[in-house]
Symmetry: C2
Subunit: 619 residues, 2 copies
């Protein structure tokens, strides 16, 4: 079979466990292979647990105790888990995960490799090296590198660690070996590009590199001299945390306003940078977000990279990190089966040919396309397999553009790795963590091998989620209810860049944002675990608030579209939004969607009715 005709239905257990038997058979087969492997290591050795022991009373009693604890686990999981395998779930960033990844994790865990040390985990360390290579390829980093991180927030922290330590090197070079940077002022040193810094470092021997590193930001001292760290105003709180932890501090974080489609405003970014550099304050780095957690908004990565090129001509440079924890895998949509970038002109036709979308439509706007393509110009990228990689938690990831960057943050601990050892990756030397599950690497590796990171694999899977999102968006656009004479209209936030669809319900002619917020918040509660078991809910969603301290006036356009005035927005300063991250691999299908649209509408009507009643009772 050619890769271009994968049937993704075979890769999930299914909303009704349609492939459950397949899952069980494969799991049993694999576990048996592990057990045989155990038995056959030093086949001459006799077992240490005797049959007599196994039939003893204490053994049976312990077995029974284990079973009752496991039963309690099962009971609790069944009673209080979220049914996101179902087409009725339109909430958080969750859905079914890939069957092969679940199997790989369950299997590789039996070997319990620790990928920090090659010696402990030769098989899975090698897989992580390959996965890192996959990440680098996905983002077009020919000389790049990558690895799995415990999660996206830590990958962001690692990106900031790279930025901080790399950008501090030129001043350290000046201190340790001035001739390396002899003709440069401090301002110029603070505005060197990552590649230039790496080129400089390459001229030094290992001992000199160590001495320079000793004087870099890792030494401590006042890190604010490195300048400002710039993030979109809709900044994920992980960026505040990261700036806190890394020691540059929240005082160095600058937020750039977003436009009414929740993209970082690149003109505003330019203004901020120019105003800072006019005051001789350097820019440590800029973060673009590819797939914001609330809106799925994809920043103009290409325009930010262009701005960097322009500023570079003026002697201003900064580290550029793309936080694509959510959207990173979507770059698969713009890569052909040879992993080459597809020109935008051919995208629609290629997508149709490879069954990326069921409809002969191009759901990716040119802006989104440009952003995805130009991720290759970033210095580092966060990408989470446990989000759009459809791999179980916890699997984040990072890719860097230039493998030489690794040496800036490296440490070597003798007992886990010897500097110079020819292992595929002395991973512990280059990362935040000191231990990491080999099973995670196995799980991601298997996913990447079943689904190539281009339109033949992940592109198709993610295409399905985007198509489902567009169907849901279209559904919302014409959705309204009349409940006991009250006319309620659904207002979608924006055309989705990606696969998150936000909306709010409003009562026709309502002029009070607080009232709308109450309606949506109460509606959410009715669909949620806060008012009963998730297992009984016929529709589940999530919610968020767009509040002025975080969003500025970017929600104004939306609240106006819901029928409110600008004055009302200034009064309320907050709008509550319902939010569907649409990862389901099934609802792209026209018939499936049509089948559930009615069910969802009925369920929404039920929960809106309950919400109206509750609001009335509470008033």
């Amino acid at each position: 079979m050619a890769n271009d005709d994968l049937n993704l239905d075979a890769l999930f257990i299914g909303d009704k466990a349609e492939n459950g038997d397949l899952y069980k058979d494969l799991l049993d087969h694999m576990v048996t292979e592990h057990l045989e492997w155990r038995k056959n290591y030093m086949v001459q050795d006799a077992p240490l647990i005797s049959h007599d022991d196994q039939v003893s009373e204490s053994f049976k009693a312990t077995e029974q105790k284990m079973k009752s604890v496991l039963q309690e686990l099962s009971d609790r999981l069944q009673a209080s888990s979220i049914p996101w395998h179902s087409p009725r779930y339109w909430g958080q960033m969750n859905s079914e995960t890939l069957m092969p990844s679940l199997l790989a994790y369950s299997y590789a865990m039996l070997w319990n490799g620790n990928n920090v040390a090659y010696e402990s985990s030769p098989a899975t360390s090698q897989m992580e090296e390959e996965v890192g290579h996959d990440f680098a390829c996905l983002f077009g980093f020919d000389k790049g590198w990558g690895h799995i991180v415990a999660d996206g927030s830590l990958a962001n922290l690692e990106g900031l660690w790279y930025a901080r330590n790399i950008k501090s090197l030129p001043l350290a070079m000046k201190e340790v070996k001035p001739e390396l940077v002899a003709d440069k002022t401090d301002w110029q040193l603070l505005n060197m590009s990552v590649s230039d810094i790496m080129d400089c470092l390459e001229q030094c021997d290992e001992e000199m590199i160590d001495r320079i590193k000793e004087k870099s930001a890792r030494a401590g001292g006042d890190l604010s001299k490195l300048g400002k760290w710039i993030v979109p105003q809709t900044k994920h709180y992980s960026w505040l945390k990261a700036a806190d932890i890394i020691g540059i501090g929240l005082d160095q974080v600058i937020a750039v306003p977003v436009d009414d489609h929740y993209h970082m405003d690149v003109s505003a970014l330019e203004e901020i940078i120019r105003s800072l550099t006019d005051q001789h304050i350097p820019i440590l780095g800029v973060v673009a977000v590819v797939g914001s957690t609330e809106e799925g908004a994809i920043d103009y990565v290409d325009k930010i990279a262009d701005l960097r090129d322009t500023l570079k001509q003026e002697g201003i440079d900064f580290y550029f990190h793309v936080d694509a924890a959510y959207g990173g895998y979507a770059r698969s949509l713009v890569l052909d089966s040879h992993n080459d970038v597809i020109p935008y002109d051919h995208l629609k036709e290629m997508h149709y040919e490879y069954h990326v979308f069921q409809e002969n439509k191009e759901y990716l706007s040119q802006d989104v396309y440009n952003a995805l393509v130009h991720i290759s110009r970033a210095d580092s990228v966060t990408v989470d397999p446990h989000k759009m990689g459809y791999v179980p938690y916890a699997a984040g990831g990072i890719a860097i553009r230039d493998i030489r960057m690794r040496n800036v943050i490296s440490y070597f601990a003798t007992y886990v790795f010897e500097k110079g050892t020819e292992a595929p990756a002395l991973l512990g030397a280059y990362i935040l963590e000191g231990s990491k599950a080999g099973a995670t690497a196995a799980s991601v590796w298997v996913a990447h091998h079943v689904l190539p990171l281009n339109i033949t694999g992940y592109g198709k899977l993610i295409g399905q989620s985007i198509e489902a999102a567009n169907r849901f968006y279209d559904f919302l656009k014409t959705l309204d209810f009349t409940i006991n004479g009250v006319h309620i209209i659904a207002h979608p936030l924006v055309t989705p860049d990606f696969n998150i669809v936000d909306w709010a319900f409003n009562i026709e002619n309502n002029q009070n944002i607080d009232d709308m917020n109450r309606l949506n918040h109460t509606f959410f509660d009715e669909t949620s675990i806060y008012t009963g078991s998730a297992y009984d809910k016929e529709f589940l969603t999530s919610h968020t608030d767009f509040a002025k301290p975080d969003y500025g006036d970017s929600p104004l356009h939306f609240v106006e579209s819901c029928g409110f005035t600008g004055e009302e927005w200034q009064k309320a300063q907050k709008v509550t939004i319902l939010r569907a991250c649409i990862l389901t691999p099934f609802m792209y299908d026209k018939d499936n969607f049509a089948r559930y649209a009615g069910e969802i509408k009925t369920a929404m009507e039920k929960y809106l009715t309950q919400a109206l009643q509750r609001i009335q009772t509470e008033q």
Copy 2:
């Protein structure tokens, strides 16, 4: 059955997969429960994957592709994994993991909860809350709290984050609300205890707390004013990394010499502190290690806590973190079935009564006992379930003494948690990570429920590993070989505090440390993946180097016991050590040990012979 008679053989798959059928049966049973749960959610909904689809060519082809990728995974894991289920493995910190934890992980993963957000994972978030409570209980923190962390290095980083931000608060209070600390000098502010700081903060309302936090170390600026971070000289490299990442910098890290048993020298610590404070340099914090990664050494936690109490009388105070990533679970050994501390006088008798040790001996020295008991006086503790918790990777953990400390590092992101929501733990607000596997919590929760964290449960399991270590140590003490006329003697490093046994082989009368190092390094290579498949090795171990930059002269005593002079040590400056972390749950047994002692000796002789040959050939 009473908890005091667990048969631990029932809790592991076994070196020859003796309990393999039990594992498979339970796994199958549990997976079926999950599949039924899926099916029965909204039982009226029809499946989305049709039978026609399942028998289609594309489905079969995709299924086949998945199978072949999984087969490749299996082949690679079998070819290149480490057989640490076997009694022939005496190397890294690995062994079999608990069967109930493996089952719980495989099972809970099917629900794929994300424990950062309660809303995504009600069942497993609740379990993590309970596990955190278990950690706090284990360390005697009555008002404490804890949670699972991706690994021990990150838990250490979190401990340092607590220290840095908490110790910075008094100066921030002075800036924001001077009357809170009106009568104090800056020196006094930098020497306030954690409890005093928390008490002060408790007097403020939420808005004031936020304003104070804004001026704390999270703001950035020069963090060196907070003082020095003091760690044992044998410092795990994770402490250097942590100081780098957190921004206080390596320049603020001070190493304290260790004694000839590799414990932090408490007199030297006192001297260092006094010399710094005499210069008016504050002490940010001190780290004691409970179970060093190379030697299993357990620092004198009690004496360090006493020193802190003494210095407090003189106006000097510091944050106290215990890095018990490795040894933390061993505190189970000093807790009775009601989780109360057992007096040392009763320890031997209680251990024998509860079958903690097979021999009627007390393997825990009074020093180790004192250290474990007094962990309750630390401000925070790192503890890794994936080490002595026998839970699969990756599961680290942290406990704090005072739950109020959480608020100092907290953040709130609207879409995952609302400040004030009555969820069991708004975990994402208080931790480093932004996503974390619910399955990890399930895995640890199950382990803690099968094995209570006292002598009836984990105490017994860890007792077995300590007893096995002592048997191995005794074995080494009298071990020698005559190979082609060359007499080789094993020299164990020190009586084990815990369950790591280090040793070196030396040729009788050899006066050259480099030669001994070569012998041991080559011996290690012969037992390792570097000279062939681990599956073919009849004995496996690990190795490390004690080098002067890290260890000072603490190895002198050992090299002298191997027959070298002090001058020779000063010349060589490094000794290569063989290292066995003895986690096996089977070799505590006298008969099992006796059965394998001969096998191990034969294998050692084989690899020593090969090593001697290789050294000769290479010369």
